[in-house]
């Protein structure tokens, strides 16, 4: 995100992904020039609006989050302001505060800013998962199993692992990075692109390596979502079976 900011700094009219000039400049405005309104500004803004209008806007923000969360990709503040908040940006902090309360009290979810610098938000569950609590068993996503393996290896290796060890471990589990897997498809893409975009993993380049090698860390989402003690418990279970 910082890189994109830099390009928008230098080239104001030409953006690779934007369709028109004016829209591009507006995007920059949203991103760079959006400064948190002060409390007095917020107060003044609230006075001019009816409570119903503020509630409506808050509800829209909540819906936006819920739909965006389907893919587990973090919500950027810039997107939120541009698409939902729009002209209500002067009371943005108040809207966010109310939205957070709605998530907390109505849905049992926590809205967390995982990246304070780039202002990205995710939703996580406030409650611990209890076995057998829900009579409805949602269909399981096998990618979670894959993610669990990678996270546990990183964890046991002290928090950082070279990518080769991960590929080797997966190969032992019959998941070959070079081949198309019948369950996961392009495994490398899932691990290095999807999981990274969801902020479950961090895939960074090791400096001074030729050819380029990368290493894995736990991502920001994993840090808040995943319970390390539960991972250990599961690993213990796996071993006891022998």
């Amino acid at each position: 995100m910082t890189q994109r900011k830099r390009t928008s700094n230098t080239q104001s009219s030409s953006q690779s992904k934007r369709t028109s000039g004016p829209a591009a400049t507006q995007e920059e405005d949203d991103d760079q020039t959006f400064t948190q309104p002060s409390t007095t500004q917020v107060q003044r803004g609230l006075e001019k609006l009816t409570p119903a209008q503020v509630d409506q806007k808050t509800a829209e923000v909540v819906q936006f989050f819920l739909v965006k969360d389907q893919k587990k990709i973090p919500v950027r503040r810039a997107d939120l302001v541009k698409h939902v908040v729009k002209e209500y940006r002067n009371i943005y902090p108040e809207i966010m505060k109310r939205a957070a309360r709605i998530f907390d009290q109505v849905f049992g979810l926590k809205m967390i800013e995982i990246d304070a610098k780039n202002h990205m938000y995710i939703l996580i569950n406030k409650l611990e998962t209890v076995e057998g609590a829900s009579p409805i068993t949602n269909p399981t996503n096998p990618k979670m199993g894959l993610l669990f393996v990678i996270l546990s290896v990183i964890f046991m290796k002290g928090g950082v692992v070279g990518e080769n060890l991960i590929w080797k471990t997966l190969k032992n589990l019959k998941v070959d990075v070079g081949e198309k897997h019948e369950e996961f498809g392009d495994v490398k893409k899932v691990v290095t692109d999807e999981f990274v975009r969801q902020r479950y993993l961090e895939y960074t380049r090791i400096p001074h390596t030729e050819p380029i090698e990368h290493e894995f860390h736990w991502g920001q989402r994993a840090e808040v979502e995943v319970s390390k003690s539960k991972i250990l418990a599961f690993m213990g279970e796996v071993r006891i079976r022998e």
């Binding site: 611990e128 032992n172 400096p207 808040v224 319970s227």
Partner: protein, 348 residues
């Protein structure tokens, strides 16, 4: 000697180092780094060939570190230390900044590697063995350890195949480790209020006529059932009445069975009479006996004589009559008039 050599090196920091190293070279007698003798000392600084040689050796070292990274990281060997020792030796002959820059680059690469190797050592104490973990996990997933025999499994991979739900099993258990927010999806489809009401109306209309039909049925059936039973019973009683009447008229004269039952005008009536008479006999209300001429006769049983069916010996016989026999009997007995009046009751 020393002073002469000391005069060669013009750069002050290098002086002591090179002087010291050259001293050891001299004393050793054989140089591992450079094969130059004392006479070529002065040329070393300026000889471009030698400079190039040193630079290429540095580049070689850098490449070897980068290419054999995994190998160098392995704690089982000291390859990294050897590289550093090589670099040390090369450094003795470094004069110009170009070689120094290469030396610096090599230092960066090796120190990175050194840091990784050190972190590896630190983790060794945790004793986490990824291959063992994967073995256990494969068992958890339900690996079928059958050897196909046809496909060659590459060395290092577990033999066998995983069931299709293997990863689902892991995912199911792993999901409880995540405090993920459940994803929100719109429910599919919508409700239409239109169709149901018309259907209900149709059903109600059909039900009404159905009930009436049922009511009619039972009454009809009752009549039918009653008429049959009553007819038989009445008939049997009537015949008994006739029998008794005839017997009372003349108790001594036996009534011929055939004369009693046969109706000269109707064969079917005759058969009915036989049928009804058999009821009387079955119930013990009449008896058939053979008279002096060995011809069957029928007589009613006195009230007192009626016994329970159990004590007397039961005799059974099947009476049959054909139209031909019927005619012969009529002629033989000369029956003109039926003894049992045909009743007017006919099944409707």
């Amino acid at each position: 000697m020393k002073r002469a050599r000391g005069g060669d090196g013009e750069e002050a920091p290098r002086q002591n180092a090179t002087a010291g190293q050259r001293k050891s070279d001299q004393s050793d007698g054989d140089n591992s780094g450079c094969d130059l003798g004392q006479a070529d000392m002065q040329d070393e600084d300026d000889n471009p060939g030698i400079r190039r040689e040193i630079r290429s050796k540095y580049r070689e070292l850098i490449q070897s570190v980068q290419q054999n990274r995994e190998d160098m990281l392995s704690p089982s060997n000291n390859k990294l230390t050897e590289v550093l020792e090589e670099a040390n030796k090369l450094f003795k002959d470094v004069r110009q900044s170009r070689e120094a820059a290469l030396d610096a680059q090599l230092l960066v690469v090796t120190s990175d590697l050194g840091k990784e190797k050190a972190s590896q050592l630190a983790a060794e104490g945790a004793a986490f063995d990824p291959p063992a973990f994967t073995e256990h996990l494969l068992s958890y997933m339900g690996l079928n350890r059958l050897n196909d025999g046809e496909d060659e499994q590459p060395i290092g991979e577990a033999i066998g195949y995983l069931p299709p739900d293997a990863w689902h099993k892991v995912a199911q258990r792993a999901e409880s480790c995540f405090r993920a927010a459940p994803s929100f999806h719109y429910m599919m489809g919508s409700f239409h209020a239109e169709p149901p009401p018309p259907k209900q109306r149709m059903e109600r209309q059909r039900k009404a006529p159905g009930k009436e039909v049922k009511r009619i049925m039972p009454t009809q059936l009752k009549k039918m059932g009653g008429s049959h039973q009553e007819a038989t019973e009445k008939e049997v009683e009537r015949i008994l009445g006739y029998l008794k009447t005839y017997y009372q008229d003349d108790p001594t004269s036996p009534i011929s069975y055939y004369e009693f039952v046969i109706d000269p005008k109707s064969f079917s009536r005759t058969v009915e009479n036989i049928f009804h008479t058999s009821f009387l006999i079955r119930d013990g209300l009449a008896r058939i006996y053979l008279d002096n001429y060995k011809l069957p006769s029928i007589a009613p049983v006195e009230e007192g004589e009626v016994e329970a069916g159990g004590s007397s010996i039961r005799k059974q016989c099947i009476v049959s009559i054909s139209p031909k026999q019927w005619k012969e009997l009529i002629e033989g007995y000369d029956i003109r008039v039926t003894m049992i009046d045909p009743s007017n009751m006919q099944p409707e």
